[in-house]
Symmetry: C2
């Protein structure tokens, strides 16, 4: 059973507006605090954990030491074609929609029996901007 609390609603409202963008636990905490409704970090972690388990939110672990990134995906999440690129130089996390890339999920499954989770997979490398230099 799940209660409706002010904290839950406030968190949900904030991250729903970030659909298509990623955020960290700190982002949520700071925003809520600045909005005049501070919420404990543990509560934010607990809600996000639950939302991830439900599939409403995706979690990207972009490397030890740095904070994890989350992203609101919504209930009917069909973004199989949505990938993430993490630049090793500038540190940015970029979004990439590419149908060609989604073929690799099919390949991994049919040829290697591995069921790829695009919502957790992050490609590491150099972004176009940084590669120029």
């Amino acid at each position: 059973m799940q209660y409706h609390t002010q904290q839950r609603d406030t968190i949900l409202k904030f991250i729903e507006n970030l659909k298509g963008k990623h955020f960290t636990v700190e982002d949520v905490r700071i925003h809520l605090a600045e909005a005049g409704f501070p919420v404990g970090i543990a509560t934010i972690y607990r809600h996000l954990e639950r939302l991830v388990a439900q599939g409403t939110v995706a979690k990207y672990e972009t490397g030890a030491g740095g904070a994890a990134c989350f992203e609101f995906t919504g209930e009917n999440c069909t973004n199989e074609e949505h990938f993430h690129l993490k630049c090793e130089q500038c540190g940015r996390l970029l979004h990439l929609e590419c149908s060609e890339l989604s073929q690799i999920a099919a390949h991994l499954l049919s040829s290697h029996g591995f069921k790829l989770n695009p919502l957790r997979t992050v490609f590491h490398g150099l972004c176009a901007d940084c590669a120029k230099k």
Copy 2:
């Protein structure tokens, strides 16, 4: 300038023998301690950091909370076709050599200007064993 120390040699000898396998800082520390030549954790971190910068060792950050995985690749590292799969259920980090997959690196570069670093990229999902269940 870089000095030749016993610690450096001992660490290098150990991880060279692990070529093709991955290891954590703890693995190194425990092995060296059991071998009768304990080395401080900070030293292991500092050496691995340097080796990663040199390109001799690859580092995989397999998720916050868990320890990072390293892998000795050697100087003339040509394993562009070598990828890693991390199972979300059993936690294993699997190696995968697949020429078809290496095409995605080419695609990312030509179509999106992103220079993929296979040595840092980890695919997340369910391994064949866990997917059966």
